[in-house]
């Protein structure tokens, strides 16, 4: 009985450590995916000049996971006649952020970007995209640093804390 409990404790704390490490990895990956999305969006706006909903649908085909869902959702909301692009963006972002590893400040950048979406001509829009990309780049740098710094630590600490707890309780 004792040993079953010990295994449970070890499993739980290890899982927590690995979860934390995965969160760090995922944040970098998601920021990268967002950068790619914004770059594609810039290209679509500048060169193919599609309406925003078609552009989003086209970009969504190249993406996967939550970001793809977000883009499809956004394009659906736009196609169904949203009040404004900004509101549609906010609503979709609200939906999107429930299950992602992005931090609040990353989402803040996206929100600020959303406020400019569809308000300007294409050159100003391009400038806004470049600005958002700069911000995201900075966040990516930070996320990468955190990842390299804390990834191993989180995993090791998870397992070791489990062992420590077991020794303390046995």
């Amino acid at each position: 009985m004792k040993w079953i409990g010990a295994v449970f404790i070890l499993f739980a704390t290890s899982w927590f450590g690995f979860y934390f490490a995965k969160q760090l990895t995922d944040r970098t990956k998601q920021i990268r995916a967002w950068k790619l999305t914004l770059q594609s969006l810039e290209a679509e706006i500048m060169y193919s000049q599609l309406p925003l909903q078609d552009a989003c649908r086209r970009i969504a085909d190249q993406m996967n996971g939550r970001l793809r869902e977000f883009l499809l959702h956004f394009s659906d909301v736009l196609a169904n006649g949203a009040e404004s692009t900004k509101l549609a963006w906010m609503e979709c972002l609200e939906h999107y952020k429930k299950n992602v590893s992005l931090k609040q400040k990353d989402l803040e950048i996206l929100m600020q970007f959303g406020e400019t979406l569809g308000m300007h001509d294409k050159h100003s829009q391009q400038k806004q995209i470049v600005l958002a990309l700069r911000h995201l780049e900075r966040e990516e740098q930070e996320a990468l640093e955190n990842h390299q710094k804390y990834d191993r630590m989180a995993k090791t600490l998870g397992v070791l804390t489990g062992l420590l707890l077991i020794i303390l309780l046995i």
Binding site: K149, Y150, R152, M153, T156, L157, L160, T161, L163, L164, I167, L168, I170
Partner: protein, 67 residues
């Protein structure tokens, strides 16, 4: 008399694990947390030892009938 070694092993285990954890934390640049871990482990061990020493004193009292 049956000697109970488990406490000694427990303390040794705590010591080893605390040392590893503090090394890991130090490597990640969290020096203050590393210090805190060592301190916490030290306090835990200290409490355990003090409880045992208290038992010893109680036994001494019993032996000499100091009630």
């Amino acid at each position: 008399m049956i000697l109970n070694y488990s406490l000694i092993f427990q303390i040794a285990g705590i010591g080893v694990l605390a040392a590893i954890i503090s090394t890991v934390l130090k490597k990640a640049g969290q020096d203050d947390f590393a210090t805190w871990t060592i301190l916490a482990a030290f306090i835990v061990v200290l409490v355990q030892v003090i409880l045992k020493v208290g038992e010893l004193f109680d036994k001494v009292k019993d032996v000499f009938l100091f009630h």
